[in-house]
């Protein structure tokens, strides 16, 4: 009883400000918690990357650089490397050196390319970003739209055809799809180039260059999209079917909303949420998929680079790539999470 009176006595303004402040604080704390997950994950990855090669039995230098590299190594280079990695010092000092090196962008030296690992990766990365990025966007959007249309017409012809067709495509592994596309469109019909990301030494510039790049991108992109589109499609379709049964859809229909509004603005938007989450989870698959497809099409991306560095046992390069890939996965996941909270007011506007 007294409590109640106290609250009444407080001027509403003071109460309001206080409330606002607490609200801001809680949202800050929540944000902090949100980001700290990523920070923790990142730290773990860094540490593993440091610890694992050093935990291997034998010479750490051998573990880090690989046997073959050491065979061809001059004693001079060896001492330099040991000094650089602080291998002759205590673990903690090694760790500090490792972190400092990373912070300055030093991922090590690629023995095969005789270049900084980071520089090598950066050479190849744009192509991978182009390929996986577009594949991700296109397969998600396409799967989403097809899923909405299909779920809305559940049991009718379009739905049945789409469902059967996409399930069929989903059965193929990425590389197989790549090989099929390569054979059919590249070898038999000669419609697409057989390898590379652009025509070498063509001296193209401006718009023709863009066209050339797209021409090269087409087949690997199609392979990735065709294999990936199904999961987005299936998820959207299923979510759509459940969402359509929700009361708010009935409300929308009772308002006299048009089919398009019901499909996309109401049912579709609500079905998008799980799809966004799933897309985040799909990124690692996408990357492995890209790896195989890049190999099949000899597409000069990070996947192809990884394959090559495995062949040449370029250990520092392999480690650098893996680190970059995990970092990429983390970052995209973070972006997806941020996007999700933008899309769902229940996350961003807590009561």
């Amino acid at each position: 009883m007294q409590d109640l009176e106290m609250r009444h006595l407080e001027s509403p303004k003071v109460g309001w400000d206080y409330q606002k402040a607490t609200a801001r604080l809680t949202s800050l704390v929540r944000r902090g918690a949100f980001f700290s997950n990523y920070v923790i994950a990142f730290t773990i990855i860094l540490t593993l990357n440091f610890v694992l090669p050093r935990m291997m039995p034998g010479d750490p230098l051998q573990a880090i650089y690989g046997e073959e590299a050491l065979l061809a190594m001059t004693p001079q280079l060896e001492t330099e490397l040991i000094a650089r990695l602080s291998l002759d010092q205590s673990m903690s000092q090694q760790f500090v050196a490792y972190i400092l090196a990373l912070a300055s962008g030093d991922l090590g030296h690629s023995y095969y390319y005789n270049q900084q690992v980071l520089a090598v990766i950066l050479d190849f990365l744009p192509w991978t970003l182009l390929l996986t990025g577009t594949a991700l966007v296109i397969s998600t959007l396409l799967g989403f739209v097809l899923g909405i249309e299909s779920g809305y017409r559940r049991g009718r012809r379009l739905d049945k055809t789409l469902l059967a067709g996409l399930m069929f495509l989903n059965g193929f592994p990425d590389f197989f799809m790549g090989i099929v596309l390569l054979l059919v469109f590249g070898v038999v019909f000669g419609m697409v180039p057989l390898s590379g990301a652009l025509t070498p030494y063509s001296g193209l510039e401006g718009f023709p260059l863009v066209l050339d790049i797209l021409h090269h991108l087409l087949a690997p992109l199609a392979a990735l999209v065709l294999v990936r589109v199904t999961s987005a499609y299936l998820l959207t379709r299923n979510t759509m079917i459940t969402t359509l049964k929700e009361n708010f859809v009935l409300t929308a229909r009772a308002k006299g909303c048009s089919e398009g509004q019901i499909k996309y603005r109401h049912a579709g938007r609500n079905s998008l949420l799980p799809v966004v989450t799933a897309t985040g989870l799909m990124i690692p698959h996408m990357i492995t998929g890209a790896l195989f497809v890049e190999i099949v099409f000899s597409y000069p991306g990070v996947g192809w680079l990884l394959y090559n560095s495995l062949l040449t046992r370029d250990y520092p390069l392999i480690q650098g790539i893996l680190l970059m890939v995990t970092l990429a996965v983390l970052v995209t996941n973070l972006l997806v999470d941020l996007l999700y909270s933008k899309l769902d007011p229940r996350v961003s506007h807590a009561r």
Partner: protein, 577 residues
């Protein structure tokens, strides 16, 4: 004007609506009540054109044939000419849109011209009309309370000022206080509209509507003015529905309806649960037809009058014990006959059963005038007394006492009789094992003896039970159980009970109607709740004054300082608790 005729809806061959006819004018508000599964919501959805099932029949709105419209034209009507508010406030709004956007959408869906400013202006006015602050518009549904969401939904339905408004359980998920507010709001907003209130909540229906239709298994079985229909339900199902819904008006204990609603019953949809059905009921579907102040679909014209007493006068020499009594007892109903000893209530009962002859007047049973009481009569009418020894001879054991009526009426073989007896004993919650069957009256308790007496009276499956102070010799806890038992038997068998008592507190709990008897005459009669809350005759008032009362008297309360927190006015009576 909304005309619905022969509206049928079926899903996968099951008929959910089996021919609905309704005519509604502007300003009409009609409640559609019934249990879940009766087809109430289907009716609303069918009107809105939101059903996937097969719909046939006619729906005309202002002469426009709604069912013949194509999908696009139908969509244009939705939300504009007719709007619906759905049950389940919790997920009836899109969680990803602010509520004012959702209302705006309802307006712009039907707007060809007019800028966004007009729309926003309209939203503002709508918010005001449903009692919501404008700032709430920027909220997302999860930020609002249930009542606020319901207001938003109502605003949305009113957005284009539709002619027909369908409210599906408009208050179901709200707490009592919010419910009252929303009901009030709705009452104001539905004026000048054709409003259909779909609900299983009879009290909401009563507050919102003038007319009421009872839906059972896809058919309207009774329809009339809301007040009349609730006060005096005439279809057995309607009565059952009212009896089973908790409210502050009726005083009788809650009773259910035996069985379960199923669709597709042959003949009358209620026939497998009805306690007064006749052969015709399971063969022919009764049509909704005019029955005075309402429409009823029943082959027997609704609940039948089982016992009609008119102008009965019974004398002992010069003494007039019963002086011109009129009383009608309906099937499945309890009338409590209340009065002090010597008021003539027992004489009246005994006149009915034929122990005394009436001087004047006539008594009808199921419409037939009673001339002599033959064996058939005693199959239909039985009596139990205050003292079970009056009905059970001390020389008979339980088995003999209960079997005797069967023997007299020559029912069944000896083995069948024992089976019947055992069943009835179980029905009155007694043991049916051999040890108990062999017991003599002095070996069992008073409560058990009265149950045996009840079993004996029920063994012939009578339609009418006259109970003369059946519990006044028993302890309160036993009495409560016996009264419950009688109500249960009534629920199950549709037994009519003439309950004679001097105790108005008991009468109020067990009876639908109450008749107060004084000096051979009935001085006041009416629904038990009316008679006990607003008595008219001074004698009734007197009876109520002296009725058992759990609250202390006024003086006692004043000295103790307000036990109930009521410092002035009358003491709280048991019946008000």
């Amino acid at each position: 004007m909304l005309e619905i005729s022969d509206l049928k809806v079926s899903y996968d061959g099951t008929e959910i609506l089996a021919g609905i006819d309704l005519d509604l004018l502007r300003g009409d508000s009609l409640a559609i009540i019934g249990e879940s599964g009766a087809g109430k919501t289907t009716l609303g959805l069918a009107l809105m054109g939101l059903l996937d099932g097969r719909t046939s029949g006619r729906i005309h709105l202002d002469g426009k044939d709604v069912l013949s419209l194509d999908g696009k034209e139908r969509r244009k009507m939705r939300g504009k000419d007719m709007a619906m508010v759905f049950q389940n406030v919790e997920d009836a709004l899109d969680p990803l849109m602010t509520v004012s956007d959702q209302i705006e959408e309802a307006i712009s869906a039907h707007r060809e011209k007019g800028g966004p400013e007009d729309v926003r202006d309209r939203v503002r006015r709508l918010f005001k009309s449903v009692g919501l602050e404008e700032e709430k518009g920027e909220s997302y549904p999860h930020q609002l309370s249930g009542g606020e969401k319901q207001r938003v939904l109502i605003a949305m339905a009113l957005a284009n000022d539709p002619q027909v408004l369908i409210l599906d359980e408009p208050t179901a998920s709200l707490d009592a206080v919010t419910k009252a507010e929303i009901t009030k709001l709705l009452r104001e907003r539905i004026r000048e509209k054709i409003c259909l209130v779909i609900t299983h909540d009879i009290s909401t229906a009563a507050k919102l509507t003038e007319k009421m239709a009872v839906l059972y298994a896809g058919r309207i079985i009774e329809m009339g003015e809301t007040t009349g229909l609730l006060e005096n339900p005439r279809h057995p199902y309607t009565r059952g529905l009212i009896r089973s819904s908790p409210n502050m008006t009726t005083t009788k204990d809650l009773q259910g309806i035996p069985g379960r609603m199923v669709h597709g019953v042959a003949g009358c949809p209620f026939s497998d649960r009805c306690t007064q059905k006749i052969d015709r009921c399971s063969k022919e579907v009764p049509q909704l037809s005019d029955a005075g102040d309402r429409m009823i679909a029943c082959h027997r014209g609704g609940i039948i009058p089982l016992l009609e007493i008119s102008k009965v006068k019974t004398c002992f020499g010069d003494f007039v014990a019963v002086n011109g009594v009129d009383l009608t007892l309906y099937e499945g109903e309890t009338i409590a006959l209340v009065g002090e000893s010597g008021s003539g209530k027992t004489t009246l009962a005994k006149t009915v059963i034929g122990l005394f002859d009436q001087e004047e007047g006539e008594i009808r049973l199921e419409g037939e005038v009673l001339v002599k009481r033959n064996r058939e009569f005693y199959k239909k009418v039985q009596m139990i007394y205050q003292n079970p020894k009056e009905s059970i001879s001390h020389r008979m054991n339980v088995l003999d006492a209960v079997t005797e009526p069967l023997e007299v009426q020559k029912v069944g073989s000896p083995a069948e009789r024992i089976a019947i007896v055992k069943r009835v004993l179980e029905e009155v919650e007694l043991s049916s094992d051999d040890a108990f069957l062999k017991k003599y009256p002095h070996q069992i308790s008073g409560g058990e003896a009265q149950r045996v007496a009840i079993a004996r009276s029920l063994v012939l499956n009578p339609k009418l039970l006259i109970a003369d102070e059946p519990t006044s010799a028993l302890d309160a806890s036993v009495q409560a159980k016996i009264l419950k038992l009688l109500l249960n038997l009534q629920e199950k068998r549709g037994l009519s009970i003439l309950f004679i008592t001097h105790d108005i507190a008991i009468a109020r709990k067990v009876s639908d109607r109450l008749a107060v008897m004084l000096k051979g005459k009935i001085v006041e009669e009416g629904p038990a709740s009316d008679v006990t809350t607003s008595p008219v005759h001074p004698y009734t008032m007197r009876l109520l004054e002296v009725a058992p009362d759990l609250a202390p008297t006024r003086e006692a309360r004043e000295t103790r300082g307000g036990l109930w927190g009521v410092s002035e006015g009358r003491p709280l009576r048991a019946r008000e608790l």
